[in-house]
Amino acid sequence: MTAAEWQIVWFTAWVSALSTLVILPPGLAVAWLLARHEWPGKSLVETVVTLPLVMPPVATGLILLKVFGRHGMGGFLHNRLHLDVVFTWRAVLVALGVMSFPLLVRSARVALEQVNPRFEQIARTLGAGDLRVFFSITIPLALRGIIGGVILAFARALGEFGATIMVAGNIQGRTSTLSLSIYQSWFNGEDTVAYRLLGASVVLAFAAVWTSEWFMRRSRK
């Protein structure tokens, strides 16, 4: 593989990992609210969270383009913080995060729902406050399922295409991910480059899914 190809693999891996890390706290919070509480508007939030799973990724990308464009939030970020999102690595981060968020929330929610609330109640009678209960009982008991969700979200981010190309484009050395580069190489007739990148993405995806399955199996035991 050439240095440019390694750069694409490295960029895809770290931006996928970072996007997964960024969505983890809000993903856990939303999963916990959905798993443990009844509140007005819950079904609406459930639907909105699931939307990126079922909508065409290109449509989600168009929404992101409008939101983060100069006439949306992007204008505010540019004027106030001198921060550009669209067609930068930040746009890749946003697209990957939005597209993998539902997978993380769904997996974490199932894992949290499987924690017997009796453990949390008894922890409270033992003197623990809500935060201590959450971090010492709820999260450890749901940890394997949550890790499975994290790995699934990471794997989804690795393969993201439609939303990313809409909001970040495919700029060599700046926003090119494995999926975008495979498409571009194939389109340009650079079959060997496409096959090499394909091999790299198969290895990354296989490792992520296999690790996820391994955690899921352990959580069922």
């Binding site: 008894i122 409270r124 009678t125 623990a128 406050g129």
Partner: protein, 223 residues
């Protein structure tokens, strides 16, 4: 002990739990068929359920007074609760389970110290093990020890021997008697078993469909 359960009202699926009682014996048994509301009453005392109305006072300390807007959080009630399923934390070792709620700075030390409690219940050899590796009787004693180590002012035991066979029950009852006599704690003890009532309780409240239908004295030990 002076434990007041006044004007308790908690709607359940088939009936409303309605209790008015003042308890003054050390060990009070709650006796009655399944679904009579015994566990719901313990949950309510522990602060795990919100009643429609209730005034619960333990030795002049108001735990719940719905009329006055007082509902003390479960973590502040200083009530040791051993539920029927024990709820030992499966991801923690026996030692970590025991220390989860252990209060070291209370004046009650060393009565409720780790060494004393584990010695009374003879569970020192189990400290390094995982709770999944314990037998039913061992789990029972660990759950009891965990509740005691919070230096509680009241102990709630929900059918602690229900899942054990007769021979194991016979082995555990002396431990419960030791806990009763060693720690001088007021205990509310839910059971179906007359033998346990006779062995442990001073007084028994018979419950049916959320109400106390009979109250009888077994022993005369008062706190």
């Amino acid at each position: 002990m002076n434990f007041l359960l006044q004007n308790i009202s908690l709607p359940l699926a088939d009936f409303t739990l309605e209790i008015d009682a003042r308890l003054q014996c050390q060990v009070t048994g709650l006796f009655g068929p399944s679904g009579a509301g015994k566990t719901s009453l313990l949950d309510l005392i522990a602060g795990l359920r919100q009643p429609a109305s209730a005034r619960i006072v333990l030795n002049d300390r108001v735990l719940t007074d719905i009329g006055a807007g007082v509902v003390m959080a479960p973590r502040l009630r200083e009530i040791g609760y051993v539920p029927q399923d024990l709820a030992l934390f499966p991801h923690l070792s026996v030692r970590k389970n025991l220390l989860y709620g252990h209060k070291k700075s209370r004046e009650t030390e060393p009565l409720f110290g780790l060494e004393h409690v584990t010695e009374v219940l003879q569970i020192q050899p189990l400290l390094g093990r995982g709770v999944r590796d314990l037998s039913g009787g061992e789990q029972q004693r660990v759950a009891l020890a965990r509740a005691l180590l919070t230096s509680p002012r009241l102990l709630l035991l929900d059918e602690p021997l229900a899942s054990l066979d007769a021979s194991l029950k016979a082995k555990i009852i002396p431990y419960l008697c030791r806990v009763r006599d060693e720690f001088h704690l007021p205990i509310l003890y839910v059971t179906h078993d007359e033998q346990e009532v006779v062995a442990l309780c001073d007084e028994v409240l018979q419950m049916e469909r959320g109400r106390i239908t009979e109250r009888r004295r077994i022993n005369d030990r008062q706190t």
